[in-house]
C-alpha cells in the first residue's frame, strides 16, 4: 500500500474530481433559482396573513428549520414516489436520484430564503407601496416594480451566506447514493483505489477555495450596492 498520504496521488486525484463539480453546481443553481421563486411566494403569502395558509406555511418553515437536511432529503426520496403514486397514480421511482435531491434542496431553500425575504420586505417602509398605489399602479405592479427591487439590496448579505450554506450542504448528497457530486466521486475513488484520504482532501480544498471566492464575490457586490456611503 505504501505511504498513507502521497502528494503525487493528491495531484493526480484533482483532475478526476474537478469534472464532478458540474453536478454540485447544478444542484446549487437549481435549488437557488427555483428556491428564490418559492421563497418570494412564501414570504408574500406569509405577509398577507391568509388565515389557514398562514398557519400551514408557519409549520412548513418550522419543519424545514428544525430538522436536518439529510433527513428531509431522505423523506423526499422515499416519500415523494409514494405520494405521487397515491395522488396521481404515476410511478416516479425511475426518476434519477438527483431530481429528488433538487426537490429537497428547493423545499429547504424556500423556507430559509422565505424568512430572509419576509424580513426584507417588511423592512421596506409602507410609504413606498402607498406611493405606488397613488400613481395608479396595481398591487402586483407595486410589488414587482417598487418593493421587490428595494429588497434586493437588503437581502444580498444574507443571500450570500445562504448560498455558501447550500454549496456546503451539497456535501450531504453522496449519502443518498447514486449521485456523483465531488463528494460521491471521492468516495468511489476511495473504494476503487483504497486511498480515500487524498480524494477527500481534494474535496475539502475545493470547498474551502470556492467558499472563499463566493464570500469575496458577495463582499464586492455588497460594496457596490452601498450607494449612500459614496
Amino acid at each position: 500500500m505504501g505511504k498513507y498520504f502521497d502528494f503525487e496521488r493528491f495531484i493526480d486525484t484533482i483532475p478526476k474530481i474537478i469534472p464532478q463539480l458540474s453536478v454540485t453546481f447544478s444542484i446549487v443553481l437549481v435549488s437557488m433559482i427555483v428556491g428564490t421563486v418559492l421563497a418570494i411566494a412564501v414570504a408574500v403569502l406569509r405577509i398577507q396573513r391568509i388565515p389557514v395558509l398562514h398557519q400551514i406555511l408557519g409549520i412548513y418553515i418550522s419543519f424545514m428549520r428544525g430538522t436536518p437536511l439529510l433527513v428531509q432529503m431522505m423523506v423526499v426520496y422515499y416519500g415523494l414516489p409514494l405520494l405521487v403514486q397515491g395522488l396521481f397514480g404515476i410511478n416516479i421511482n425511475t426518476w434519477s436520484t438527483i431530481i429528488f435531491v433538487d426537490i429537497a434542496f428547493i423545499l429547504n431553500e424556500g423556507a430559509f430564503l422565505g424568512e430572509i425575504f419576509r424580513s426584507a420586505i417588511l423592512s421596506i417602509p409602507p410609504i413606498q407601496s402607498e406611493a405606488g398605489y397613488s400613481i395608479g399602479m396595481t398591487r402586483l405592479q407595486t410589488f414587482t416594480r417598487i418593493v421587490l427591487p428595494q429588497t434586493i439590496r437588503i437581502i444580498i448579505p444574507s443571500y450570500g451566506v445562504d448560498l455558501i450554506g447550500v454549496f456546503q450542504n451539497t456535501s450531504l448528497v453522496f449519502t443518498i447514493g447514486g449521485v456523483l457530486d465531488i463528494m460521491g466521486k471521492a468516495k468511489t475513488l476511495g473504494t476503487a483505489t483504497g486511498h480515500a484520504l487524498e480524494a477527500y482532501l481534494v474535496v475539502a480544498l475545493i470547498f474551502i477555495i470556492l467558499s472563499l471566492i463566493l464570500r469575496f464575490l458577495f463582499f464586492l457586490i455588497n460594496q457596490k450596492l452601498q450607494y449612500e456611503r459614496r
Binding site: 498513507y4 418550522s62 419543519f63 428549520r65 428544525g66 430538522t67 436536518p68 437536511l69 439529510l70 433527513v71 428531509q72 431522505m74 423523506v75 422515499y78 416519500g79 409514494l82 455558501i164 456546503q168 450542504n169 456535501s171 450531504l172 449519502t175 463528494m183 480515500a196 484520504l197 477527500y200 482532501l201 474535496v203 475539502a204 470547498f207 474551502i208 477555495i209 470556492l210 467558499s211 472563499l212 464570500r215
Partner: protein, 235 residues
Amino acid sequence: MSFSSENFFDSLQGAIAYLPVTFKLTIYTFVISLFIGGTIAIIRNYKVPMISQFLAWFVTIYNGLPLMVALVIYNLLFMTNYDNVARFFHISKTISEINPVIVGYFSLILSSSCSYSETIRGALQSIEQVQYEAGYAIGLSKLQTLYRIILPQLVPVAIPGLINNLVGTIKGTNLVSAIGILEIMGGALTPCALSYSYLEGYLAAALVYWLFSFVLETLAKQIEVRSTKFRRQIV
C-alpha cells in the same frame, strides 16, 4: 409499499431511545464551543498580536469546510493513525475499545467554535468604545472591564444569533451518523432494516428532531426574554 403506522411507531420508539445521545452531543458541543468561540472572539477583539491574525485566518478558512467533509477526513485519520498515536502515548486501549463518538465531538466542536466565534465577535463589535473607556476611567483593569462591563452587555445582543447556532448544532449532530454513531436517525432506522420501511423511519426521525429543536429553541427564547429584562426596565 405503503405507509404503515405500526412501523412508524416502532421507529418512533427507536428514535426516542436514542434521543439522549443527540441531547448529550448537542449540549456538550454547545457549552464547549461557546467557551472556545468566546475566547477566540475576545482574542480577536483585543487584537492580541500573532494569535489574533492566526485565528482570523483559521476561522475564515475553516468556515469554508463543510462539517461532513471534515468528519469523514477526521474519521479516516483516526482509523488509520490511532495505533501509532496510542503507542506513542503508551495507551493500552485498542481502537475497538475507543468510542468513535470522540471523533464526532472533535469535528462538531471545532466547526461550531468557529461559527460561534463569528456570532460573538459580531455582538462584541456592536458594543461602543465608550463602554471600555468608562471602565478604564473608574480604574478597572482590562480583565475587570471585560467581565463586569462588556460581557454582561454582550449577552442579550449575542443570544439571537446563538439560538440560530444552537439549532444548527442540533442539525449538525445528525451528520455523525455518517461515521457510524447511532443517534436519533440511526435509532429510527434500526427497525427498518427488517421491514424495509425507510419512509416511516425517516419521518419518525424528522418528528423527533423537530420536537427536540422546537423545545430547545423555546427554552432559549425564554432566556433571551430574561436577559433583555434590564433594557425594558430603563425604557
